[in-house]
């Protein structure tokens, strides 16, 4: 996959690119990433050919159900999935530099510094045995030359920035003394401590209540503006995508099913799986009607069907689906489905009008 916005040839490989060049080159490029685990039950192909680009200041949302490989993809590009049973292939470039398979030492200077991560569960992301100030300061000191005192001052500053009241007092408290939302703020403060260029947020609000979720999403947007970071947000909630992302990657069985601008994917989705995902969400705004369901259950990663992975659950499969479809499409909007454009539009309109008439009745 190569979108038209990134036609710059990648001959420039220097580290400190001038700003103008930098803005045309994507911050992160993932090319045909494949991650497989050798397990007792066989080989699990968790990520199966993911390509995507994240531009500067761009928010990319990765959406998919559990087991679709969205987290594994992000963890493995950060070098967080390391085991003799794991095979990672493909190419990951960050600011033009290959980072897949970098030695630990070098990876460590990128991880936490240039690329930071926000985890789903703020309780397990923080260690319960140190106070939060120590945990934030540790990261600042590991990536710079700050003294203890400077790191502490910066940590207090950061806690204030993420909206924790009375940071000078709270800094000496332990994670259990914070509520879920406040803990997630601490994790965000930690992630921001080194002013990262890219923030990967893995289901950052899934463990939180809606009112807290709203606070955290707002906070992330505000901070993105002030820090000029790019964000990759992993979620299973299309609503969160709709609120946060510029571009969306829909994943199924470790493969991208559809990629495009948020507006295109949500308003004119092309892949049957995306139709199902969008139709299955009960909405606050809409009246009571029957939900669109996707028959069956998500595929077992041990037993991905040949051809189109979504085939067995798809209402519109035909002969061509026995072969794996590649991502195709115009401009920035691509999908991996054999149906041709006209057929898709026709089917979608039919489905939408049938839902509409049910609502009216």
């Amino acid at each position: 996959m190569r979108s038209s916005t990134s036609s710059t040839p990648f001959s420039i490989r220097e580290f400190d690119l001038p700003d103008e060049t930098a803005s045309t080159q994507p911050l992160l490029e993932v090319d045909d990433l494949r991650v497989s685990f050798a397990t007792r039950g066989g080989v699990v192909q968790a990520v199966d050919g993911l390509s995507l680009q994240v531009g500067r200041r761009e928010v990319v949302g990765i959406v998919g159900e559990s087991g679709s490989g969205k987290s594994v993809a992000m963890y493995s590009l950060l070098g967080l999935v390391r085991d003799s049973n794991v095979t990672i292939t493909g190419r990951v470039r960050f600011e033009g530099r290959d980072i897949l398979g970098l030695p630990d030492q070098e990876m460590r200077s990128i991880r936490g510094h240039d690329i930071a991560m926000i985890f789903q569960d703020p309780m397990t992301a923080l260690t319960p045995v140190y106070n939060v100030g120590w945990q934030i300061a540790e990261q600042i000191r590991a990536h710079g030359t700050a003294t203890k005192q400077q790191a502490r001052t910066r940590a207090i500053e950061l806690l204030g920035e993420v909206g924790i009241p009375d940071p000078a007092r709270r800094i000496d408290q332990y994670p259990h003394e914070f509520s879920g939302g406040m803990r997630q703020r601490v994790v965000i403060a930690m992630a921001l401590s080194c002013n990262p260029k890219l923030l990967i947020a893995d289901e950052p609000t899934t463990a939180l209540d809606v009112t807290t979720q709203a606070q955290i999403l707002d906070l992330m947007s505000t901070l993105q503006d002030s820090y000029n970071s790019s964000i990759v947000i992993i979620t299973h909630d299309m609503g969160v995508i709709s609120e946060m992302a510029d571009r969306v990657v829909v994943m199924y069985a470790g493969r991208p099913a559809e990629i495009g601008a948020k507006r295109d994917v949500i308003r004119s989705p092309r892949h049957p799986y995306t139709w199902g995902l969008l139709g299955a969400v009960p909405r606050v705004e809409s009246k009571r009607s029957r939900l669109v369901t996707i028959p069956g259950t998500p595929v077992s990663p041990l037993d991905v069907p040949a051809g189109c992975a979504f085939g067995p659950r798809c209402d519109y499969r035909f002969d061509a689906c026995s072969e794996r479809p590649a991502l195709r499409g115009d401009g920035g909007h691509q999908d991996a489905c054999w149906l041709d454009e006209r057929q898709k539009v026709a089917i979608r309109q039919r489905v939408e009008s049938s839902i509409g008439s049910e609502n009216a009745s």
Partner: protein, 327 residues
């Protein structure tokens, strides 16, 4: 749906005693603080609220899985609170629970057929053959293959396990099913299947549901009427449609405004009201209206006087001194 009241809860209070930080001292958490509600035969009453608001405790009190501290629960005209376990048993058949976590609510060491058959055996439904037939029928009703009765829970996916939980709840032909977050552990595509199944079953078997969830979209989808809880209290109750369209309580309004919605371009966006702060500690509730520290429209009055849940218009109750959209 009829106007016949199947379940009536009056002023239910449930306290839990906590060991306090200081040795020997005890503190009390009021998980449910005086909730009164009625469930009509054939309807779905949705209960929403954030974690810790007491909705699960309320569910357990309604079906008498937990003794209430005070208040009464009447089911089908019989007062359940205060009945002995023996006396309660015939009524238990009539009200069943579906639990949140389909992994924790099925015994991993028993075959799923036995799990579904257990209520039948306990209640002496019939001989082995009749029980076997009933279990197979139940499997078909919830969309599972009757041939899989001899398998174990781990052989099923999350959605299938929830179907087993539903089959178990339906085994004795209950009239009331209390579902406590039945779909929150499931992926959206599977969640939609289970919600559709529950809707079909309600129609076919004339069930009454109390549906508890934190997902406002799910609750709206399934409910005829909705109750909103905050810190153990019911702050608003009303018919689902109007409650979602014109919330009366500022908390309901804020809650609805921040649900991430799909921007499909068909309707204008709601104005978001992002509440500040967290839900207060239930063992140390604010004075007056429990919502006042986070309420955008609170006044002096709210800090001192607690508003009662009053019926403002037909079928719509709210506990607020300054209800929204009321004029």
């Amino acid at each position: 749906m009829s106007d016949e009241v199947l379940l009536r809860a009056t002023d239910i209070v449930k306290n839990f005693t906590l060991r306090s930080k200081k040795l020997g001292q005890r503190s009390i958490v009021q998980a449910v603080a005086g909730v009164s509600l009625e469930v009509r035969r054939g309807e779905t009453l949705g209960i929403v609220g954030e974690s810790g608001c007491g909705k699960s405790t309320l569910a357990r009190c309604l079906v008498q899985l937990m003794p209430v501290t005070s208040g009464t629960v009447e089911f089908n005209g019989t007062k359940l609170t205060g009945l002995s376990r023996r006396r309660l048993r015939p009524h238990r058949r009539e009200m069943q629970l579906v639990f949140q976590d389909p992994y924790a609510s099925l015994n991993p060491r028993r075959r799923v057929g036995d799990i579904v058959a257990e209520p039948l055996r306990i209640n002496k439904y019939g001989d082995d053959q009749r029980i076997k037939e009933r279990v197979e029928e139940l499997f078909r009703i919830v969309g599972l293959d009757p041939a899989s009765v001899n398998r174990y829970p781990h052989e099923f996916s999350g959605g299938q396990r929830q179907r087993i939980g539903i089959a178990r709840a339906l085994s004795l032909n209950p009239s009331l099913v209390v579902a406590d977050e039945p779909v929150s552990a499931l992926d959206v595509s599977v969640q939609a299947q289970v919600l559709n199944l529950m809707a079909d079953l309600q129609r076919e078997l004339a069930l009454t549901y109390v549906f508890i969830a934190h997902d406002l979209g799910v609750v709206r989808h399934v409910s005829d009427r909705v109750g909103v809880m905050y810190l153990g209290e019911l702050v608003e109750l009303g018919d689902a449609e109007t409650l979602y369209e014109r919330p009366l309580h500022p908390y309901t309004e804020a809650l609805l405004s921040v649900v991430p919605e799909l921007d499909d371009g068909t309707r204008p966006k709601r104005e978001r009201i992002v509440l500040t702060g967290d839900v207060p500690d239930p063992s140390d509730k604010p004075s007056g209206c429990p919502f006042h520290p986070r309420c955008p429209v609170a006044t002096e009055l709210c800090t001192t006087t607690k508003p009662a849940l009053v019926e403002l218009t037909a079928g719509r109750s709210v506990a607020c001194h300054y209800p929204r959209h009321s004029t």
